[in-house]
């Protein structure tokens, strides 16, 4: 608790410090390569035959996903707090890579906890993290995926909090993490809003993003929440079916509960035990979700809907063939939702999709599912 109080206070000070904002802005621009483009997917639009589809290209960020926005922000905060070591958890490995990258940039030693099952699925990212100088510690407890990696990172932090900062990768965990991660990721929505006004002369009709823990979607939605006329759609991993254990659609099928220090929707049984989850995408494979998403669900501001493994895999192929863009399997869920619904809108309407990451990391898993070896 002391660590969280200290972090809350330090973050509150950093948030209003122009020097912190200026340094972060410089890193966003010169290290990450922001702003990321807002791109008109013309051939995908033609195929869907309805609303114009724009992609917010977070896949073009340094390290290939939105995760770097938060990792750089929290690493900067780590330096500010005078802490000398960083730990992180990772599912798909994108947050692990982003954290290892930020730590290499700042010269901070870094330990990344990663489920054994995810290490198998994402060995490219494991190789990258190790090359960047991070130590990747396999997690063999429980389901050996993201949630167990979070458990292990929290355990590490309880004994190392004096000199270590825990860079959590999503809008989950205890306060102030959900708020802080959302703030660092809000650059996505702020840029999108400005780009829409500049490039299109107006705001979009709908904004779509995938939701696992919910960081790219929280960052994308937050600056649009007050624009009541804009429909916000969160796409959850529907997996193989609606039965418990077959999906990770926490908001669609979960109950109100407590997990990892926050009160939110959770996939759990009648005893409060966390259920195992499945998704073809390792980054969405989480049985909880950020508390703010739960609030947006209950207030009706955001609509959440599941998209299954097969539809996501089809969208992965479709975007590659029509646009020459290989999306992450996480982002493929959001693309699949738009492929389903864009045709129901008129051609002068606009949908923006957050393309949260690139799909290079997923080629081994997709090839395996196709029965190919690479």
């Amino acid at each position: 608790m002391h660590a969280l109080e200290q972090l809350t206070a330090e973050y509150a000070r950093a948030k209003v410090d122009p020097a912190f904002a200026a340094e972060l802005e410089g890193l966003f621009r010169h290290y990450i390569g922001r702003p990321s483009p807002l791109y008109f997917a013309e051939r995908l639009t033609a195929r869907c035959g309805g609303a114009k589809i724009y992609l917010k290209r977070e896949d073009l960020n340094h390290t290939g996903a939105h995760k770097i926005n938060n990792a750089i922000g929290q690493a900067l905060l780590t330096k500010r707090m005078g802490k000398t070591r960083v730990i992180a958890e990772t599912g798909a490995g994108q947050h692990g890579v982003a954290t290892a990258t930020a730590c290499a940039h700042f010269g901070l030693p870094c330990v990344v906890y990663m489920g054994e099952e995810d290490i198998r699925r994402q060995r490219l990212n494991v190789f990258i993290m190790r090359t960047m100088g991070a130590e990747v510690r396999p997690v063999t407890s429980g389901s050996r995926t993201l949630r167990d990696a979070i458990n292990e990172a929290m355990r590490d932090w309880m004994s190392s909090v004096a000199d270590t900062h825990y860079i959590i990768g999503s809008v989950v965990g205890p306060h102030p993490f959900p708020m802080m991660v959302r703030d660092f990721q809000s650059i996505i929505g702020r840029e999108t809003r400005r780009q829409c006004l500049e490039q299109l002369g107006r705001l979009p009709d709908e904004v779509v993003a995938c939701v696992g823990g919910g960081s790219n979607s929280a960052g994308m939605f937050y600056p649009f929440v007050e624009d009541r006329s804009i429909k916000l759609t969160g796409v959850e991993p529907g997996g193989r079916g609606v039965k418990p254990g077959e999906h990770a659609s926490t908001l669609s099928f979960g109950v109100k509960g407590v997990l990892h220090g926050s009160y939110s929707y959770v996939l759990q049984d009648a005893d409060g035990q966390t259920l195992d989850v499945h998704s073809v995408s390792a980054g969405l494979d989480y049985p909880g979700v950020g508390p703010e998403h739960s609030y947006w669900k209950d207030s009706g501001r955001v609509q959440y809907t599941p998209v299954g493994d097969q539809d996501a895999l089809s969208a992965f192929d479709l975007l590659a063939k029509l646009e020459g863009i290989l999306p992450a399997l996480e982002s493929s869920h959001a693309i699949a939702q738009v492929v389903k619904t864009a045709g129901q809108r008129k051609s002068d309407e606009i949908i923006v999709v957050c393309l949260s990451g690139r799909g290079d990391k997923d080629v081994y898993e997709v090839a395996r599912l196709r029965g190919e070896t690479i």
């Binding site: 002391h2 355990r155 009648a270 409060g272």
Partner: protein, 255 residues
């Protein structure tokens, strides 16, 4: 004060372990409700939770087993307190959980993942049901926060010996003694030290500073041998009994 995981390897064995410990003169027994994501626990207790959950131990069955034990006509047991994650209490419903705990004969609850600031509702429910809500104090808990916690604490104070998770450790930190000495000036509640304690000499090193020690992983490891190493239940019970005897004797010497 020993700690036992409910349902590892099964509830029938758990009942025997509790009865065995009760006969050895321990002051209190902690009963761990298995949880899927026990972030405050080290590998030994987590593994026992995973084993128990793999056998589908449910909260209702744990309450039933405890009710059997506390209502049986055998020798009276020391107080039993539940070590239980707030995720479980919340899902069960705090009011219903407290009622079921009282009916099962439990004397109190320890909720390691519920910060004192957010425990108001549960504390009120516990108080009206006559249950203690035992608060934890860590080495990183600041004096101001400790004072706030002590205002609502009851039963005893669970003093975490080291920053980190449960599990056997060789040495207890020097700062612990300072913290215990200071705590003694702040509260009349008994102080029990947990996390990392497994040997009688550690008990003796706390002479005059603490009123009790909590032994978790060392006991859970003996019980775990039943399913992990096919150890006979009788042998595991003997080992647990012996450890309890040694620790109780050390406590009396230290007291």
């Amino acid at each position: 004060m020993p700690f036992v995981t409910a349902g590892d390897p099964d509830l029938a064995t758990t009942k025997r372990v509790i009865a065995e410990l009760g006969g050895r003169g321990v002051d209190l027994i902690e009963v761990g409700f298995p949880y899927s994501d026990p972030i405050a626990d080290g590998p030994v207790i987590q593994a026992s939770y995973t084993r128990a959950l793999a056998k589908k131990v449910h909260v209702a069955e744990i309450f039933a087993a405890l009710r059997d034990l506390t209502q049986s006509e055998a020798k009276p047991l020391p107080p039993l307190v539940a070590m239980v994650a707030y995720a479980i209490i919340f899902r069960w419903g705090p009011e219903r959980f407290v009622r079921d705990a009282r009916e099962a004969g439990l004397a109190g609850l320890i909720v390691p993942d519920l910060p004192a600031d957010e425990a108001t509702e549960l504390a009120t429910l516990c108080r009206s049901a006559g249950l203690d809500l035992i608060e934890l104090i860590a080495p990183t808990t600041t004096p101001e926060r400790t004072k706030r916690i002590l205002q609502t604490a009851s039963g005893f104070i669970y003093c975490i010996s080291v920053a980190g998770t449960t599990g056997v450790r060789d040495q207890l930190p020097v700062e612990l003694k300072q913290q215990l000495t200071w705590l003694k000036t702040q509260t009349r509640l008994p102080l029990a030290v947990g996390f990392g304690i497994s040997r009688p000499d550690q008990v003796e090193s706390l002479r005059g500073l603490a009123d009790g020690v909590i032994v978790g992983s060392a006991i859970v490891r003996h019980i775990g041998a039943i399913s992990e190493q096919n150890a006979p239940t009788e042998a595991a019970l003997r080992n647990v009994g012996q450890l309890a005897d040694d620790m109780v004797a050390a406590t009396h010497r230290a007291g």
